[in-house]
Subunit: 112 residues, 2 copies
DNA sequence: TGACATACCTTGCCACGCGAGGTATTATAC
DNA sequence: GTATAATACCTCGCGTGGCAAGGTATGTCA
């Protein structure tokens, strides 16, 4: 199941915020993690995630820090900010209302 | 609660299809109906709905017919086609999987 | 007459997913 | 040693679609 890319809009940023709210993560890791957690139902690529992270950082919803992995690779770790947590709470609440409304519209067959 | 317009993408067409699957409806009626059913949580305007209807018709997922109301006004009634019903089934199934995946990602706080 | 609801429509802006392309490093396989 | 893949970052450009704003025409009501 590959989801329409139109569905992703509006939830990509909250999902990223939720992940980096648990622990600092770097971009490549986020891509793999989202795809794996959803059993490849999501198939995020770099072109989706990196611009998303940059938007979040520009909006000061996350901040970032370069760290060197034991492998020697440079990784840019992102953490959620206080502002980001507030934003996330709002977006989760919005999602809950929205998904309930859509399900009510879509899943009720043949009502009067 | 006014929803982010990014959330609407990907569900507008299925919602319209679901409505005209119940009975033939005209555009202005669909706008009022969606807004009312969601207690104004949705605030659809003409600029959202009419292009959506035209896309659906171009894709042969609905067809249309002019009828005159008792008031004398011309109304364009839309009906779902066989192809539209198949499309709707797929989109409802996609929505179900998608919303479950997003909720699982967004609503699970602090898992390991 | 003037305002409002009904009923249709289009144009233009902007945001964003994502395919495609690029760079650099490390690991693996031959 | 060298080719290939995986890791890790990035940007550019296309296409899509919401929706604000604007337009037309008719019916209703004060």
């Amino acid at each position: 199941m590959k989801f329409s890319s139109d569905l992703i809009r509006g939830v990509a940023e909250p999902i990223v915020l939720r992940l980096v709210a648990e622990r600092p993560m770097y971009g490549y890791e986020i891509i793999k993690d989202v795809n794996q957690r959803t059993n490849q139902a999501f198939e995020w690529k770099e072109g989706t995630l990196y611009p998303c992270l940059h938007r979040l950082e520009a909006a000061k919803l996350v901040d970032s820090e370069w760290r060197e992995a034991t492998s020697g690779k440079q990784r840019k770790y992102y953490r959620i900010t206080r502002k980001g947590r507030a934003f996330l709470r709002d977006k989760v609440s919005e999602w809950t209302s929205f998904s309930a409304a859509v399900s009510a519209l879509l899943l009720c067959s043949h009502e009067a």
